[in-house]
Symmetry: C2
Subunit: 129 residues, 2 copies
Amino acid sequence: MTTDLESVVAANKAFYAAFEARDLDAMSAVWEHSDRIICTHPGWASLRGWGQVAASFFALFQNSQHLQFILTKETAEVAGDTAWVAVDENILQSTNATTVAAFNLFVRTAGGWKLVAHHASPVSDSTDT
Amino acid sequence: MTTDLESVVAANKAFYAAFEARDLDAMSAVWEHSDRIICTHPGWASLRGWGQVAASFFALFQNSQHLQFILTKETAEVAGDTAWVAVDENILQSTNATTVAAFNLFVRTAGGWKLVAHHASPVSDSTDT
């Protein structure tokens, strides 16, 4: 018996697995294909709707080097038919590593938990503003 | 009769009104006071739980200059007892302006819609990475 929390954590892992593999089909399976979804890559303006979001991953997968995600400080919460995961993405890319704070929102659907929002932002060395 | 969408948009406005007014009591009323809340200020690591989140606003309100938020590109979605707002915060501060992409997640409670996640990140001039 898989709990909701386990299913959400698995859906979150599938997102990063698709990202690492640069697998657009797997990434497509993670997301809800609707107009209400939001994706904010680090430093980017927010993208809205599956068309814009899919195009961004297509571009990232074409252009970027291989990224490896080491996930830390993961917390997951389920609230009815919605769930969210906050996690630090420690991204290893050739010779450098950066830390990105990410927030992922999922909704329960007939086809399982689907991603409706991903917001990722670079963490500065200092938390002073 | 106020719709859910109108109530969520109002709750989102109350967050920015409290921020502009540097009013910790008003900010406190906006948030759910629980361990599951998440707040990621631009460039900061994610803060978890009302204790950390409240402390961050206390520090920001003490230290920062007056901020004015011009909100653009606001979209709001209600999904059962959860709702989210994505919005661009155009922040005016003394002589400069910056754009921050924000994502705010609310849950329905007996006391109205309460904020459970706020993630804000600076938008670079270019969307290339």
